[in-house]
Protein backbone atom coordinates (compact mmCIF):
# COMPACT_ATOMS: atom_id res chain seq x y z
CA UNK A 1 0.00 0.00 0.00
CA UNK A 2 2.63 2.52 1.06
CA UNK A 3 4.65 1.97 -2.12
CA UNK A 4 1.60 2.49 -4.28
CA UNK A 5 0.88 5.69 -2.38
CA UNK A 6 4.33 7.05 -2.95
CA UNK A 7 4.34 6.22 -6.65
CA UNK A 8 1.07 7.98 -7.37
CA UNK A 9 1.73 10.80 -4.95
CA UNK A 10 0.54 13.78 -7.01
CA UNK A 11 -2.87 12.36 -7.97
CA UNK A 12 -3.23 11.02 -4.45
CA UNK A 13 -2.72 14.50 -3.10
CA UNK A 14 -5.52 15.93 -5.20
CA UNK A 15 -7.71 12.98 -4.37
CA UNK A 16 -7.17 13.44 -0.65
CA UNK A 17 -7.88 17.14 -0.91
CA UNK A 18 -11.09 16.63 -2.89
CA UNK A 19 -12.24 13.95 -0.47
CA UNK A 20 -11.77 16.25 2.48
CA UNK A 21 -13.50 19.20 0.85
CA UNK A 22 -16.50 17.13 -0.22
CA UNK A 23 -16.75 15.49 3.19
CA UNK A 24 -16.66 18.89 4.86
CA UNK A 25 -19.42 20.19 2.56
CA UNK A 26 -21.62 17.19 3.23
CA UNK A 27 -21.05 17.47 6.98
CA UNK A 28 -22.05 21.15 6.83
CA UNK A 29 -25.24 20.34 4.95
CA UNK A 30 -26.12 17.72 7.54
CA UNK A 31 -25.27 19.60 10.69
CA UNK A 32 -25.44 23.32 9.98
CA UNK A 33 -29.27 23.64 9.76
CA UNK A 34 -29.58 22.06 13.20
CA UNK A 35 -26.71 24.01 14.76
CA UNK A 36 -28.08 27.28 13.43
CA UNK A 37 -31.50 26.51 14.87
CA UNK A 38 -29.87 25.60 18.18
CA UNK A 39 -28.16 29.00 18.34
CA UNK A 40 -31.47 30.70 17.53
CA UNK A 41 -33.18 29.23 20.57
CA UNK A 42 -31.02 31.29 22.93
CA UNK A 43 -32.20 34.57 21.44
CA UNK A 44 -34.62 36.88 23.13
CA UNK A 45 -37.76 37.56 21.07
CA UNK A 46 -36.64 40.95 19.76
CA UNK A 47 -33.48 39.49 18.22
CA UNK A 48 -35.40 36.65 16.61
CA UNK A 49 -37.18 38.91 14.18
CA UNK A 50 -34.30 41.21 13.29
CA UNK A 51 -33.71 41.72 9.61
CA UNK A 52 -30.11 40.69 9.35
CA UNK A 53 -28.69 37.20 9.62
CA UNK A 54 -26.32 36.71 12.52
CA UNK A 55 -25.07 33.54 14.14
CA UNK A 56 -24.71 34.32 17.83
CA UNK A 57 -27.27 36.02 20.05
CA UNK A 58 -26.23 39.36 21.58
CA UNK A 59 -28.02 38.73 24.85
CA UNK A 60 -28.41 34.97 25.29
CA UNK A 61 -31.41 33.83 27.32
CA UNK A 62 -32.90 30.53 28.50
CA UNK A 63 -36.48 31.86 28.38
CA UNK A 64 -37.43 29.71 25.39
CA UNK A 65 -36.04 26.57 26.96
CA UNK A 66 -37.78 27.06 30.28
CA UNK A 67 -41.11 27.81 28.64
CA UNK A 68 -40.83 24.98 26.12
CA UNK A 69 -40.04 22.44 28.84
CA UNK A 70 -43.07 23.45 30.86
CA UNK A 71 -45.27 23.23 27.77
CA UNK A 72 -43.99 19.82 26.73
CA UNK A 73 -43.34 18.04 30.02
CA UNK A 74 -46.49 15.84 29.99
CA UNK A 75 -46.00 14.89 26.37
CA UNK A 76 -42.33 14.06 26.95
CA UNK A 77 -43.31 11.71 29.78
CA UNK A 78 -45.79 10.05 27.43
CA UNK A 79 -43.13 9.69 24.75
CA UNK A 80 -40.73 8.13 27.23
CA UNK A 81 -43.24 5.60 28.57
CA UNK A 82 -44.37 4.67 25.07
CA UNK A 83 -40.82 4.26 23.77
CA UNK A 84 -39.49 2.23 26.72
CA UNK A 85 -42.48 -0.10 26.77
CA UNK A 86 -42.14 -0.62 23.03
CA UNK A 87 -38.48 -1.53 23.52
CA UNK A 88 -39.15 -4.06 26.27
CA UNK A 89 -41.97 -5.73 24.38
CA UNK A 90 -40.03 -5.80 21.13
CA UNK A 91 -37.06 -7.56 22.72
CA UNK A 92 -39.36 -10.23 24.12
CA UNK A 93 -40.81 -10.85 20.69
CA UNK A 94 -37.88 -10.26 18.38
CA UNK A 95 -34.95 -11.95 20.07
CA UNK A 96 -36.46 -15.48 20.23
CA UNK A 97 -37.85 -15.17 16.70
CA UNK A 98 -34.59 -13.93 15.23
CA UNK A 99 -32.67 -16.66 17.05
CA UNK A 100 -34.81 -19.37 15.55
CA UNK A 101 -34.49 -17.92 12.04
CA UNK A 102 -30.74 -17.53 12.42
CA UNK A 103 -29.80 -20.88 13.92
CA UNK A 104 -32.51 -23.53 13.72
CA UNK A 105 -33.74 -25.72 10.92
CA UNK A 106 -37.41 -26.65 10.95
CA UNK A 107 -40.18 -27.33 8.43
CA UNK A 108 -41.89 -24.17 7.21
CA UNK A 109 -38.95 -21.90 8.01
CA UNK A 110 -38.81 -20.29 4.57
CA UNK A 111 -42.51 -19.55 4.33
CA UNK A 112 -42.54 -18.10 7.83
CA UNK A 113 -39.65 -15.88 6.91
CA UNK A 114 -41.53 -14.60 3.87
CA UNK A 115 -44.29 -13.39 6.14
CA UNK A 116 -41.69 -11.21 7.82
CA UNK A 117 -39.96 -10.03 4.65
CA UNK A 118 -43.22 -8.95 3.06
CA UNK A 119 -44.19 -7.18 6.27
CA UNK A 120 -40.93 -5.27 6.04
CA UNK A 121 -41.78 -3.84 2.63
CA UNK A 122 -45.46 -3.28 3.29
CA UNK A 123 -46.52 0.38 3.06
CA UNK A 124 -47.24 0.73 6.78
CA UNK A 125 -49.56 3.67 6.37
CA UNK A 126 -52.05 1.25 4.83
CA UNK A 127 -52.33 -0.80 7.98
CA UNK A 128 -52.88 2.04 10.36
CA UNK A 129 -56.46 2.68 9.33
CA UNK A 130 -57.68 -0.88 10.04
CA UNK A 131 -55.53 -1.09 13.18
CA UNK A 132 -57.09 2.13 14.50
CA UNK A 133 -60.54 0.76 13.74
CA UNK A 134 -59.72 -2.58 15.38
CA UNK A 135 -58.16 -0.96 18.48
CA UNK A 136 -61.29 1.17 18.81
CA UNK A 137 -63.45 -1.95 18.87
CA UNK A 138 -61.40 -3.80 21.49
CA UNK A 139 -60.64 -0.79 23.69
CA UNK A 140 -56.95 -0.34 22.91
CA UNK A 141 -57.50 2.94 21.06
CA UNK A 142 -55.92 5.91 22.81
CA UNK A 143 -54.12 3.75 25.38
CA UNK A 144 -50.42 3.22 26.09
CA UNK A 145 -50.52 -0.60 25.72
CA UNK A 146 -52.22 -0.04 22.37
CA UNK A 147 -49.21 1.97 21.28
CA UNK A 148 -46.73 -0.58 22.62
CA UNK A 149 -48.36 -3.33 20.60
CA UNK A 150 -48.84 -1.38 17.41
CA UNK A 151 -45.24 -0.16 17.27
CA UNK A 152 -44.11 -3.75 16.90
CA UNK A 153 -45.29 -3.37 13.31
CA UNK A 154 -42.55 -0.81 12.66
CA UNK A 155 -39.89 -2.47 14.76
CA UNK A 156 -40.20 -6.25 14.44
CA UNK A 157 -39.72 -7.05 10.74
CA UNK A 158 -36.60 -4.95 10.26
CA UNK A 159 -35.08 -5.90 13.61
CA UNK A 160 -35.63 -9.63 13.08
CA UNK A 161 -34.05 -9.39 9.69
CA UNK A 162 -30.94 -7.65 11.06
CA UNK A 163 -30.63 -9.78 14.18
CA UNK A 164 -31.13 -13.04 12.28
CA UNK A 165 -27.92 -12.42 10.32
CA UNK A 166 -26.05 -11.71 13.50
CA UNK A 167 -27.15 -14.96 15.11
CA UNK A 168 -26.36 -16.88 11.94
CA UNK A 169 -22.77 -15.57 11.90
CA UNK A 170 -21.96 -16.92 15.37
CA UNK A 171 -19.81 -20.10 15.42
CA UNK A 172 -21.69 -23.25 14.46
CA UNK A 173 -21.51 -25.62 17.39
CA UNK A 174 -22.10 -23.42 20.40
CA UNK A 175 -25.42 -24.99 21.36
CA UNK A 176 -24.18 -28.54 20.95
CA UNK A 177 -21.22 -28.00 23.20
CA UNK A 178 -23.40 -26.24 25.77
CA UNK A 179 -25.74 -29.22 25.72
CA UNK A 180 -22.83 -31.60 26.25
CA UNK A 181 -22.15 -29.74 29.47
CA UNK A 182 -25.72 -30.34 30.57
CA UNK A 183 -27.57 -27.30 29.24
CA UNK A 184 -31.08 -27.74 27.90
CA UNK A 185 -32.06 -26.12 24.58
CA UNK A 186 -33.56 -23.30 26.54
CA UNK A 187 -30.68 -22.69 28.92
CA UNK A 188 -28.21 -22.89 26.03
CA UNK A 189 -30.17 -20.08 24.39
CA UNK A 190 -30.49 -17.94 27.50
CA UNK A 191 -27.15 -18.52 29.18
CA UNK A 192 -24.81 -18.97 26.25
CA UNK A 193 -26.19 -17.42 23.08
CA UNK A 194 -27.83 -14.32 24.54
CA UNK A 195 -24.70 -13.03 26.29
CA UNK A 196 -22.65 -13.48 23.12
CA UNK A 197 -25.26 -11.63 21.08
CA UNK A 198 -25.54 -8.79 23.59
CA UNK A 199 -24.11 -6.05 21.33
CA UNK A 200 -26.62 -6.77 18.57
CA UNK A 201 -29.45 -6.97 21.08
CA UNK A 202 -28.46 -3.57 22.45
CA UNK A 203 -28.53 -2.21 18.91
CA UNK A 204 -32.03 -3.57 18.40
CA UNK A 205 -33.17 -2.07 21.69
CA UNK A 206 -31.97 1.36 20.58
CA UNK A 207 -33.66 1.01 17.21
CA UNK A 208 -36.96 0.17 18.91
CA UNK A 209 -36.73 3.05 21.32
CA UNK A 210 -35.92 5.55 18.59
CA UNK A 211 -38.60 4.26 16.26
CA UNK A 212 -41.25 4.68 18.91
CA UNK A 213 -39.94 8.05 20.10
CA UNK A 214 -39.65 9.49 16.59
CA UNK A 215 -42.78 8.13 14.98
CA UNK A 216 -45.57 10.39 13.96
CA UNK A 217 -47.86 8.27 11.81
CA UNK A 218 -49.00 5.67 14.31
CA UNK A 219 -49.20 7.98 17.31
CA UNK A 220 -51.19 10.63 15.49
CA UNK A 221 -53.76 8.09 14.33
CA UNK A 222 -54.03 6.17 17.60
CA UNK A 223 -54.13 8.94 20.21
CA UNK A 224 -56.31 11.95 20.96
CA UNK A 225 -55.72 15.11 22.94
CA UNK A 226 -57.14 13.54 26.09
CA UNK A 227 -55.08 10.36 25.77
CA UNK A 228 -51.37 9.57 25.96
CA UNK A 229 -50.31 11.92 23.20
CA UNK A 230 -46.53 11.89 22.63
CA UNK A 231 -44.37 14.98 22.14
CA UNK A 232 -43.89 14.54 18.38
CA UNK A 233 -47.63 14.79 17.79
CA UNK A 234 -47.94 17.85 20.01
CA UNK A 235 -45.27 19.58 17.97
CA UNK A 236 -46.88 18.54 14.71
CA UNK A 237 -50.25 19.88 15.74
CA UNK A 238 -48.77 23.23 16.69
CA UNK A 239 -46.92 23.57 13.40
CA UNK A 240 -49.47 22.08 11.00
CA UNK A 241 -52.18 24.12 12.69
CA UNK A 242 -50.41 27.12 11.24
CA UNK A 243 -49.60 28.56 14.65
CA UNK A 244 -46.06 29.55 13.77
CA UNK A 245 -46.11 33.00 15.30
CA UNK A 246 -43.61 32.12 18.03
CA UNK A 247 -40.70 30.54 16.16
CA UNK A 248 -38.49 30.86 19.23
CA UNK A 249 -40.72 28.55 21.24
CA UNK A 250 -41.36 26.16 18.37
CA UNK A 251 -37.73 25.67 17.41
CA UNK A 252 -36.85 25.10 21.07
CA UNK A 253 -39.56 22.45 21.39
CA UNK A 254 -38.23 20.89 18.20
CA UNK A 255 -34.76 20.52 19.66
CA UNK A 256 -36.00 19.25 23.02
CA UNK A 257 -37.75 16.45 21.15
CA UNK A 258 -34.93 15.92 18.67
CA UNK A 259 -31.85 15.89 20.87
CA UNK A 260 -32.49 12.78 23.04
CA UNK A 261 -32.73 10.34 20.12
CA UNK A 262 -29.70 11.92 18.49
CA UNK A 263 -27.59 11.53 21.60
CA UNK A 264 -28.74 7.92 22.04
CA UNK A 265 -28.07 7.10 18.41
CA UNK A 266 -24.58 8.50 18.39
CA UNK A 267 -23.84 6.60 21.56
CA UNK A 268 -25.12 3.30 20.16
CA UNK A 269 -23.55 3.82 16.76
CA UNK A 270 -20.81 1.23 17.03
CA UNK A 271 -23.26 -1.48 17.94
CA UNK A 272 -25.44 -0.51 15.03
CA UNK A 273 -22.91 -0.41 12.22
CA UNK A 274 -21.72 -3.90 13.11
CA UNK A 275 -25.22 -5.24 12.56
CA UNK A 276 -25.82 -3.55 9.21
CA UNK A 277 -23.41 -5.34 6.88
CA UNK A 278 -24.93 -6.70 3.71
CA UNK A 279 -22.75 -8.68 1.41
Amino acid sequence: MSIANRVGFSTDGYFKFATRVLAFLLVSISVFPILYTLLMTFRPANEFYSNSVQLFPHQPTFENWIFAFSELSDALVNSFIIASGTTALSLLIIVPGAYVFGRKQFPGKTSFFYIIIVALMFPYILLIVPIADFWYTIGLYDTIPGMWISYQLFVAPFAIWILRDYFAKLPKNIEESAQMYGCTQFSAFVRVILPIAAPAIVAIAFLSFLTAWNDFLMSSMLTTGTGPRPAVVELFITVAGGDTSDWGLITTETLIIGIPPTVLYLWARNYLSESFEMT
Binding site: I34, I93, M121, I149, L153, L235, F236, T251
Partner: protein, 308 residues
Protein backbone atom coordinates in the same frame (compact mmCIF):
# COMPACT_ATOMS: atom_id res chain seq x y z
CA UNK B 1 -66.57 -36.77 10.62
CA UNK B 2 -64.56 -39.13 12.70
CA UNK B 3 -60.86 -39.55 12.24
CA UNK B 4 -61.04 -43.06 10.83
CA UNK B 5 -63.38 -42.21 7.94
CA UNK B 6 -60.78 -39.98 6.31
CA UNK B 7 -57.90 -42.00 4.92
CA UNK B 8 -54.58 -40.30 5.21
CA UNK B 9 -55.66 -38.04 7.99
CA UNK B 10 -54.19 -40.22 10.69
CA UNK B 11 -50.81 -40.47 9.03
CA UNK B 12 -50.74 -36.77 8.33
CA UNK B 13 -51.70 -36.13 11.92
CA UNK B 14 -48.89 -38.34 13.11
CA UNK B 15 -46.40 -36.67 10.82
CA UNK B 16 -47.44 -33.25 12.13
CA UNK B 17 -47.15 -34.52 15.68
CA UNK B 18 -43.66 -35.84 15.21
CA UNK B 19 -42.54 -32.61 13.48
CA UNK B 20 -43.98 -30.67 16.36
CA UNK B 21 -42.36 -32.80 19.04
CA UNK B 22 -39.04 -32.65 17.25
CA UNK B 23 -39.08 -28.91 16.65
CA UNK B 24 -41.33 -27.69 19.44
CA UNK B 25 -38.64 -25.40 20.77
CA UNK B 26 -38.27 -23.53 17.47
CA UNK B 27 -42.01 -23.16 17.02
CA UNK B 28 -42.41 -21.97 20.59
CA UNK B 29 -39.83 -19.21 20.18
CA UNK B 30 -41.31 -18.25 16.84
CA UNK B 31 -44.89 -18.05 18.05
CA UNK B 32 -44.86 -14.52 19.53
CA UNK B 33 -43.33 -13.03 16.39
CA UNK B 34 -45.84 -14.69 14.12
CA UNK B 35 -48.75 -13.85 16.36
CA UNK B 36 -47.86 -10.15 16.42
CA UNK B 37 -47.31 -9.96 12.70
CA UNK B 38 -50.62 -11.71 12.07
CA UNK B 39 -52.46 -9.25 14.28
CA UNK B 40 -50.61 -6.19 12.97
CA UNK B 41 -50.10 -6.96 9.28
CA UNK B 42 -52.20 -9.67 7.77
CA UNK B 43 -55.49 -9.32 9.62
CA UNK B 44 -55.58 -5.51 9.23
CA UNK B 45 -54.64 -5.82 5.59
CA UNK B 46 -57.49 -8.16 4.76
CA UNK B 47 -59.86 -6.12 6.85
CA UNK B 48 -58.70 -2.99 5.06
CA UNK B 49 -59.42 -4.45 1.64
CA UNK B 50 -62.89 -5.29 2.95
CA UNK B 51 -63.21 -1.73 4.29
CA UNK B 52 -62.37 -0.27 0.89
CA UNK B 53 -65.61 -1.80 -0.40
CA UNK B 54 -67.56 0.17 2.18
CA UNK B 55 -68.42 3.60 3.25
CA UNK B 56 -66.76 3.15 6.62
CA UNK B 57 -66.99 5.87 9.26
CA UNK B 58 -64.41 5.84 12.07
CA UNK B 59 -65.51 4.61 15.48
CA UNK B 60 -69.08 3.74 16.27
CA UNK B 61 -71.00 4.46 13.02
CA UNK B 62 -72.24 1.57 10.88
CA UNK B 63 -70.44 0.81 7.62
CA UNK B 64 -72.46 0.60 4.38
CA UNK B 65 -71.44 -1.74 1.61
CA UNK B 66 -70.82 0.23 -1.59
CA UNK B 67 -68.98 -2.29 -3.78
CA UNK B 68 -66.37 -0.75 -6.03
CA UNK B 69 -67.77 2.75 -5.98
CA UNK B 70 -64.93 4.10 -3.82
CA UNK B 71 -62.56 3.02 -6.58
CA UNK B 72 -64.83 4.45 -9.29
CA UNK B 73 -65.00 7.75 -7.49
CA UNK B 74 -61.25 7.95 -7.12
CA UNK B 75 -60.52 7.13 -10.75
CA UNK B 76 -62.94 9.75 -12.00
CA UNK B 77 -61.66 12.44 -9.65
CA UNK B 78 -59.17 14.95 -11.15
CA UNK B 79 -57.03 15.52 -8.04
CA UNK B 80 -56.31 11.79 -7.89
CA UNK B 81 -54.22 12.11 -11.05
CA UNK B 82 -52.45 15.20 -9.71
CA UNK B 83 -51.65 13.08 -6.68
CA UNK B 84 -50.33 10.19 -8.79
CA UNK B 85 -48.03 12.57 -10.63
CA UNK B 86 -46.82 14.09 -7.36
CA UNK B 87 -46.21 10.62 -5.96
CA UNK B 88 -43.99 9.64 -8.90
CA UNK B 89 -42.00 12.88 -8.73
CA UNK B 90 -41.65 12.49 -4.98
CA UNK B 91 -40.34 8.93 -5.46
CA UNK B 92 -37.20 10.52 -6.96
CA UNK B 93 -36.24 11.43 -3.40
CA UNK B 94 -35.05 7.83 -3.09
CA UNK B 95 -32.64 8.34 -6.00
CA UNK B 96 -31.25 11.49 -4.41
CA UNK B 97 -30.85 9.61 -1.14
CA UNK B 98 -28.97 6.77 -2.85
CA UNK B 99 -26.62 9.16 -4.67
CA UNK B 100 -25.81 11.06 -1.50
CA UNK B 101 -25.37 7.90 0.57
CA UNK B 102 -23.05 6.36 -2.02
CA UNK B 103 -20.94 9.50 -2.23
CA UNK B 104 -20.82 9.82 1.55
CA UNK B 105 -19.84 6.18 2.00
CA UNK B 106 -16.99 6.45 -0.51
CA UNK B 107 -15.80 9.68 1.10
CA UNK B 108 -15.73 8.17 4.57
CA UNK B 109 -13.77 5.04 3.62
CA UNK B 110 -11.22 7.21 1.83
CA UNK B 111 -10.73 9.69 4.66
CA UNK B 112 -7.53 9.21 6.63
CA UNK B 113 -8.63 11.24 9.67
CA UNK B 114 -11.87 12.16 11.44
CA UNK B 115 -13.65 9.13 9.99
CA UNK B 116 -15.75 8.67 13.09
CA UNK B 117 -16.63 12.30 13.52
CA UNK B 118 -17.67 12.66 9.89
CA UNK B 119 -19.85 9.55 9.76
CA UNK B 120 -21.42 10.46 13.11
CA UNK B 121 -22.41 13.90 11.81
CA UNK B 122 -23.92 12.33 8.69
CA UNK B 123 -26.32 10.41 10.93
CA UNK B 124 -27.72 13.42 12.74
CA UNK B 125 -30.52 14.38 10.31
CA UNK B 126 -31.82 10.82 10.40
CA UNK B 127 -31.77 10.46 14.17
CA UNK B 128 -34.16 13.32 14.86
CA UNK B 129 -37.89 12.76 14.50
CA UNK B 130 -38.94 13.75 10.95
CA UNK B 131 -41.49 16.08 12.49
CA UNK B 132 -38.63 17.89 14.23
CA UNK B 133 -36.44 18.22 11.14
CA UNK B 134 -39.50 19.21 9.10
CA UNK B 135 -40.13 22.01 11.57
CA UNK B 136 -36.51 23.14 11.37
CA UNK B 137 -36.64 23.35 7.58
CA UNK B 138 -40.00 25.07 7.66
CA UNK B 139 -38.42 27.72 9.84
CA UNK B 140 -35.18 28.00 7.84
CA UNK B 141 -37.09 28.32 4.56
CA UNK B 142 -39.81 30.64 5.83
CA UNK B 143 -39.96 33.36 3.15
CA UNK B 144 -40.57 36.27 5.49
CA UNK B 145 -38.83 35.26 8.74
CA UNK B 146 -36.43 32.45 7.93
CA UNK B 147 -32.68 32.97 7.65
CA UNK B 148 -32.22 31.44 4.17
CA UNK B 149 -34.18 34.08 2.30
CA UNK B 150 -33.04 36.84 4.68
CA UNK B 151 -29.49 35.92 3.77
CA UNK B 152 -30.14 35.70 0.04
CA UNK B 153 -31.91 39.06 -0.11
CA UNK B 154 -29.46 40.75 2.25
CA UNK B 155 -26.56 39.95 -0.07
CA UNK B 156 -28.53 40.82 -3.19
CA UNK B 157 -28.53 37.27 -4.58
CA UNK B 158 -32.32 37.41 -4.76
CA UNK B 159 -34.43 40.52 -5.28
CA UNK B 160 -37.10 39.20 -2.97
CA UNK B 161 -37.87 35.95 -1.15
CA UNK B 162 -39.47 33.10 -3.09
CA UNK B 163 -42.85 32.08 -1.77
CA UNK B 164 -42.26 28.45 -2.65
CA UNK B 165 -45.24 27.09 -0.74
CA UNK B 166 -47.65 28.74 -3.16
CA UNK B 167 -46.01 27.41 -6.33
CA UNK B 168 -46.83 23.77 -7.05
CA UNK B 169 -43.56 22.65 -8.64
CA UNK B 170 -41.37 24.43 -6.13
CA UNK B 171 -43.39 23.16 -3.19
CA UNK B 172 -43.03 19.60 -4.49
CA UNK B 173 -39.30 20.09 -5.02
CA UNK B 174 -38.85 21.41 -1.48
CA UNK B 175 -40.77 18.51 0.03
CA UNK B 176 -38.84 15.99 -2.05
CA UNK B 177 -35.46 17.44 -1.13
CA UNK B 178 -36.22 17.83 2.57
CA UNK B 179 -37.29 14.18 2.63
CA UNK B 180 -34.01 13.29 0.92
CA UNK B 181 -32.03 15.30 3.49
CA UNK B 182 -33.85 13.57 6.33
CA UNK B 183 -33.57 9.94 5.28
CA UNK B 184 -30.41 9.43 3.22
CA UNK B 185 -28.34 8.39 6.27
CA UNK B 186 -30.31 5.14 6.48
CA UNK B 187 -28.81 4.08 3.16
CA UNK B 188 -25.46 5.46 4.25
CA UNK B 189 -25.35 3.18 7.31
CA UNK B 190 -25.95 0.10 5.18
CA UNK B 191 -23.59 1.13 2.38
CA UNK B 192 -20.78 2.12 4.73
CA UNK B 193 -21.02 -1.09 6.77
CA UNK B 194 -20.83 -3.09 3.54
CA UNK B 195 -17.98 -1.01 2.10
CA UNK B 196 -15.95 -1.60 5.23
CA UNK B 197 -16.49 -5.33 4.99
CA UNK B 198 -14.94 -5.62 1.50
CA UNK B 199 -11.60 -7.42 2.00
CA UNK B 200 -8.64 -5.08 1.41
CA UNK B 201 -6.79 -7.86 -0.45
CA UNK B 202 -9.15 -7.31 -3.37
CA UNK B 203 -7.90 -3.76 -3.73
CA UNK B 204 -4.29 -4.67 -3.12
CA UNK B 205 -4.19 -7.32 -5.80
CA UNK B 206 -6.07 -5.06 -8.23
CA UNK B 207 -3.44 -2.39 -7.66
CA UNK B 208 -0.65 -4.88 -8.27
CA UNK B 209 -2.12 -5.39 -11.72
CA UNK B 210 -2.10 -1.64 -12.25
CA UNK B 211 -5.81 -0.89 -11.79
CA UNK B 212 -6.63 2.78 -11.13
CA UNK B 213 -9.24 4.18 -8.78
CA UNK B 214 -11.91 4.19 -11.44
CA UNK B 215 -11.25 0.56 -12.39
CA UNK B 216 -11.35 -0.66 -8.81
CA UNK B 217 -14.57 1.26 -8.22
CA UNK B 218 -16.27 -0.32 -11.25
CA UNK B 219 -14.89 -3.82 -10.91
CA UNK B 220 -14.64 -4.29 -7.15
CA UNK B 221 -16.59 -1.74 -5.13
CA UNK B 222 -19.81 -1.55 -7.14
CA UNK B 223 -20.25 -5.32 -7.62
CA UNK B 224 -19.63 -5.87 -3.89
CA UNK B 225 -22.19 -3.19 -3.06
CA UNK B 226 -24.84 -4.51 -5.41
CA UNK B 227 -26.90 -6.31 -2.78
CA UNK B 228 -26.62 -3.54 -0.23
CA UNK B 229 -27.74 -0.96 -2.77
CA UNK B 230 -30.73 -2.98 -3.92
CA UNK B 231 -31.84 -3.81 -0.41
CA UNK B 232 -31.38 -0.28 0.91
CA UNK B 233 -33.06 1.22 -2.14
CA UNK B 234 -36.16 -0.92 -2.03
CA UNK B 235 -36.68 -0.64 1.74
CA UNK B 236 -36.13 3.09 1.60
CA UNK B 237 -38.47 3.48 -1.37
CA UNK B 238 -41.24 1.63 0.43
CA UNK B 239 -40.70 3.65 3.58
CA UNK B 240 -40.43 7.00 1.80
CA UNK B 241 -43.76 6.43 0.11
CA UNK B 242 -45.50 6.26 3.48
CA UNK B 243 -43.94 9.38 4.98
CA UNK B 244 -46.56 12.07 5.45
CA UNK B 245 -45.56 14.24 8.39
CA UNK B 246 -43.08 16.57 6.71
CA UNK B 247 -45.23 17.06 3.63
CA UNK B 248 -48.33 17.92 5.63
CA UNK B 249 -46.31 20.17 7.90
CA UNK B 250 -44.61 22.08 5.13
CA UNK B 251 -47.32 22.41 2.48
CA UNK B 252 -50.48 20.82 3.86
CA UNK B 253 -50.70 18.92 0.56
CA UNK B 254 -51.09 22.15 -1.40
CA UNK B 255 -51.10 24.45 -3.22
CA UNK B 256 -54.28 22.87 -4.56
CA UNK B 257 -53.38 19.18 -4.65
CA UNK B 258 -49.88 19.64 -6.04
CA UNK B 259 -48.09 18.01 -3.12
CA UNK B 260 -50.88 15.66 -2.03
CA UNK B 261 -48.99 12.40 -2.39
CA UNK B 262 -51.08 9.24 -2.24
CA UNK B 263 -50.00 8.72 1.38
CA UNK B 264 -51.09 12.27 2.22
CA UNK B 265 -54.47 11.62 0.60
CA UNK B 266 -54.85 8.46 2.63
CA UNK B 267 -53.98 10.28 5.84
CA UNK B 268 -56.39 13.11 5.12
CA UNK B 269 -59.30 10.82 4.26
CA UNK B 270 -58.70 8.91 7.47
CA UNK B 271 -57.70 11.59 9.93
CA UNK B 272 -59.46 14.75 8.76
CA UNK B 273 -62.61 13.26 7.29
CA UNK B 274 -62.95 9.93 9.11
CA UNK B 275 -63.62 8.16 5.80
CA UNK B 276 -61.81 4.92 6.46
CA UNK B 277 -63.16 3.16 3.36
CA UNK B 278 -61.88 5.84 1.00
CA UNK B 279 -58.59 5.96 2.89
CA UNK B 280 -57.99 2.28 2.34
CA UNK B 281 -59.00 2.54 -1.31
CA UNK B 282 -56.11 4.97 -1.77
CA UNK B 283 -53.98 2.53 0.20
CA UNK B 284 -54.77 -0.39 -2.10
CA UNK B 285 -53.71 1.68 -5.10
CA UNK B 286 -50.48 2.66 -3.35
CA UNK B 287 -49.83 -0.99 -2.54
CA UNK B 288 -50.33 -2.06 -6.14
CA UNK B 289 -47.74 0.51 -7.24
CA UNK B 290 -45.35 -0.68 -4.51
CA UNK B 291 -45.85 -4.34 -5.37
CA UNK B 292 -43.37 -4.09 -8.22
CA UNK B 293 -40.66 -3.17 -5.76
CA UNK B 294 -41.68 -5.74 -3.21
CA UNK B 295 -41.25 -8.41 -5.88
CA UNK B 296 -37.84 -7.02 -6.85
CA UNK B 297 -36.80 -7.03 -3.21
CA UNK B 298 -37.86 -10.61 -2.69
CA UNK B 299 -35.99 -11.73 -5.80
CA UNK B 300 -32.82 -10.08 -4.50
CA UNK B 301 -33.38 -11.68 -1.12
CA UNK B 302 -33.72 -15.10 -2.70
CA UNK B 303 -30.50 -14.65 -4.63
CA UNK B 304 -28.73 -13.68 -1.43
CA UNK B 305 -30.06 -16.76 0.32
CA UNK B 306 -28.89 -18.96 -2.55
CA UNK B 307 -25.42 -17.52 -2.16
CA UNK B 308 -25.22 -18.09 1.56
Amino acid sequence: MSVIERPGFKSRYNAARSTLSEHWFSYLLLAPTLLFLMVLVWVPFLKGVWMSLHQWPFGSGDPTFVGLSNYEYLFSWGPFYTSLKATFVFALTTVVQLGTALLAGLLVVNLDRFKNLVSASFLIPYTMPPVATGTIWLYLLDPSLGPVFKFLTQYGILEQPIYWASQGNLALAVVTLVTAWTFWPFMFIIILATLESIPTEYYESARMYGAGRWDTFWHITLPQLRSAILVAFSIRLAWNMTKVSQTIQMTGGGPGYDTSLLAVFLYRFAYDQGQMGMAFTVGVILLIIMLVFIVLFIREFEMQEAHA
